[in-house]
C-alpha cells in the first residue's frame, strides 16, 4: 500500500525538480519583482490604517499566492503533460487507488507550493530587513503551518479536478485566467478589502480565497481582514469540497490522450 503511494509522490516531486527553472525559479523571480516594485517602491507611499508598512502586509499575500499558484500548476501540468504523452494510462492500470493518487499528487503540489512560498518569504524578509532594520516575525507558526498545508492541498486538488475534467488546453488556461487569477487578486493578496468599494467588499466574502489569504496573513501579522475561526472554518470547507471534486474528476474525468 505504502510503496505505490510513496513512488507516486517521489515521481511527482522529481518531475518538477527536473524542470526547476520553470517550476520554482521563475515564480520566485516574479515574487521578487512584486516585492521590489509594489512592496518597496510603491509601498513607501501607501498608508496602511494601523500605521504598519505595506511590505509587511504584502509579504504574506505573496507567499500564499506563490503557494497556491504553484500547487495548482504542479498537479494540473503533471496531468496535462501525461495526457499528451499517454503515460496517464500507467497510473490507471497500476494497482493504485484514487485516494492514493489524489493524496500523492496533493503532497507533491504542496511541496512545490511551499517551496516557492518559503523562498518568497525569505526574499521578502531580506527586503523587510533592509527597509526596517528588523525581520518580520511570525506570530502564530502552527496556524501558518495549517494554512500552508490547507492552501497547498486545496489548490493541488483544484489542479487535479480541472486537469481531468478539461478536454482541451484552452479549458485549463481558461480556469487559470478567468477564475483563479481574479479570485487571487480580489481575495486580498495586494490590498485590504477596506480599500474596495462596498459592493466588492461584500463579494469578497463569497470568495474562498479571501479566507485563506487573510487567515495566512493573520498567522504572520497577528491581525487581518477576517475573523480567525471563520477563516479556519471556510478553509476546511474548501479543503473538503476540493478533495471531493478531485475524487469526482478521477472517477468521471477523461483519461484520453490529447
Amino acid at each position: 500500500m505504502i510503496i505505490p503511494f510513496m513512488t507516486l509522490v517521489e515521481k511527482e516531486i522529481s518531475r518538477f525538480m527536473k524542470v526547476i527553472v520553470q517550476t520554482v525559479f521563475s515564480p520566485i523571480l516574479s515574487s521578487f519583482l512584486y516585492l521590489l516594485i509594489f512592496g518597496v517602491s510603491l509601498g513607501s507611499s501607501i498608508q496602511m490604517k494601523n500605521g504598519e508598512v505595506y511590505l509587511a502586509f504584502l509579504i504574506p499575500g505573496l507567499v500564499v499566492m506563490g503557494l497556491i499558484n504553484n500547487a495548482f500548476q504542479n498537479t494540473s501540468s503533471s496531468i496535462i503533460t501525461s495526457k499528451f504523452s499517454g503515460d496517464i494510462e500507467d497510473i490507471r492500470v497500476a494497482p493504485i487507488n484514487h485516494n492514493q493518487i489524489v493524496w500523492a499528487m496533493g503532497i507533491a503540489g504542496v511541496f512545490r507550493g511551499a517551496l516557492v512560498g518559503f523562498i518568497t518569504g525569505i526574499v521578502g524578509e531580506i527586503f523587510f530587513y533592509f527597509q526596517n532594520g528588523t525581520l518580520l516575525a511570525v506570530e502564530h507558526p502552527l496556524m501558518m503551518l495549517f494554512f500552508t498545508l490547507a492552501g497547498g492541498f486545496i489548490f493541488s486538488f483544484c489542479g487535479i479536478f480541472v486537469a481531468f475534467i478539461a478536454k482541451t488546453f484552452d479549458q485549463l488556461s481558461a480556469f487559470a485566467s478567468f477564475i483563479l487569477l481574479p479570485l487571487t487578486y480580489l481575495g486580498g493578496v495586494f490590498i485590504s478589502i477596506d480599500n474596495l468599494s462596498p459592493f466588492f467588499q461584500k463579494l469578497s466574502h463569497a470568495n474562498p480565497l479571501f479566507y485563506l489569504i487573510n487567515g495566512f496573513r493573520y498567522s504572520i501579522l497577528g491581525h487581518s481582514d477576517v475573523q480567525v475561526p471563520l477563516a479556519l472554518g471556510m478553509t476546511l470547507i474548501s479543503l473538503v469540497v476540493t478533495f471531493s471534486m478531485a475524487r469526482f474528476a478521477l472517477k468521471n474525468g477523461s483519461y484520453s490522450r490529447w
Partner: protein
C-alpha cells in the same frame, strides 16, 4: 487452472449526446489456460481492444463476467491489476524521465522497491541496456515498443496482455520479440495477444479466437482453423506431360485428393503443394 475466464461478456457504449448504442462486444466467452499463448485475431474495430480494456479494469463490462486467477475483475480490481501486465497498442511517451527511472517508478507502482535485478534482466533481454539513460523521445519506434514491454513485465506478472505488440515493427525486431514471447511462455507466463498479423498467430499461438463485430466466430488451434477454413493447392505434372492444379479443403489428405481425381502416385513426375494459411481462413470467416 484457467488463468483467465470470460463468460458471456457484453460491452455497449452509449454515447452521451445521442441515443445511438454501439455494441462493441456481443457476448464473448473464452478461457486462457495456464502457460498458453492465446491469440485474438480480428480486423480493426472488431472489439479486441475493448476486450483487453475490460480485463485490465479500464472498462466495466455491461454484462457478463471476467475472472483473472479466479477473482472477478469487477469486484477485486486491485488483485487483477497486480496479477497482470499490459502492453497497450499506442506507444506511450514520457517526457521527463530516463528508461531506467521509468522502470523504477513502474516497479514502485506495483509495490516493489528494489527491483534493479529484474530491471537489468529485462533491459538486457530487450536489448535496451545501452539506452538505459536515454529519455523516451530519444528512442526509435522499436525501442519505445520494447520499453513498453519491459514496463509491463517489471512486476513479473503471470498473465501478460499484448495489444498488437508488433504493429509498425520491422521484421528483425518482430522475430526477436517473438523469441522473447516464447521464452516468457516457457517461464510459465500465460499470454493473450491481439494481432492482425496472421503469421504471428500461426507461429506463436497455442490457440486462437477469431473475433469480428463483437462476436467470437471461432476458437481453436491455428492448425484446426487452417484445415477447416482454408484450401490446399496441389500443382502436378504427370508422366504423360499433363499439368493439373487441384484445389481442395486443407483438411483432406493428398492421398484422398489424388484418389478423387483418379491420379495414381506412380504417374506423378513433379509435385508442388501450397499449404493452407491462416490468412485465407481468416479472410473467409470474417467475410461470412
Amino acid at each position: 487452472m484457467d488463468v483467465l475466464i470470460i463468460k458471456d461478456l457484453k460491452k455497449t457504449y452509449q454515447s452521451k449526446d445521442s441515443l445511438v448504442k454501439t455494441e462493441a462486444l456481443k457476448g464473448v466467452s473464452l478461457e486462457i489456460r495456464a502457460g498458453e499463448i492465446f491469440g485474438l485475431l480480428g480486423p480493426n474495430g472488431a472489439g479486441k481492444t475493448t476486450l483487453i480494456n475490460t480485463i485490465t479494469t479500464l472498462e466495466k463490462p455491461t454484462e457478463g463476467e471476467v475472472m483473472v486467477f479466479g477473482k472477478s475483475v469487477v469486484h477485486d480490481p486491485m488483485f487483477t491489476k497486480k496479477k497482470i501486465g499490459v502492453v497497450h497498442q499506442e506507444v506511450i511517451n514520457t517526457g521527463f524521465f530516463s528508461i531506467e527511472e521509468i522502470l523504477k517508478f513502474q516497479s514502485g507502482y506495483y509495490g516493489i522497491k528494489n527491483n534493479l535485478e529484474r530491471i537489468n534482466y529485462l533491459l538486457e533481454k530487450l536489448s535496451l541496456t545501452p539506452h538505459r539513460q536515454k529519455k523516451v523521445k530519444q528512442l526509435s519506434g522499436g525501442m519505445k515498443r520494447r520499453l513498453m514491454i519491459a514496463k509491463a513485465l517489471v512486476h513479473s506478472p503471470k498473465l501478460l496482455l499484448l495489444d498488437e505488440p508488433t504493429a509498425g515493427v520491422d521484421v528483425e525486431l518482430r522475430e526477436s520479440l517473438w523469441k522473447f514471447v516464447l521464452e516468457l511462455k516457457a517461464s510459465g507466463v500465460s499470454i493473450l495477444l491481439t494481432t492482425h498479423y496472421l503469421e504471428e498467430a500461426e507461429k506463436l499461438c497455442d490457440r486462437v479466437s477469431i473475433i469480428n463485430k463483437g462476436n467470437l466466430i471461432y476458437t481453436g488451434k491455428p492448425r484446426e482453423v487452417i484445415e477447416k477454413y482454408s484450401t490446399k493447392k496441389i500443382y502436378l505434372k504427370t508422366s504423360s506431360g499433363q499439368t493439373h492444379t487441384l484445389v481442395d479443403s486443407a483438411a483432406k489428405s493428398i492421398q484422398d485428393i489424388l484418389k478423387e481425381h483418379h491420379i495414381s502416385f506412380s504417374d506423378i513426375v513433379d509435385i508442388q503443394i501450397e499449404e493452407g494459411r491462416l490468412e485465407e481462413a481468416f479472410t473467409k470467416m470474417v467475410n461470412l
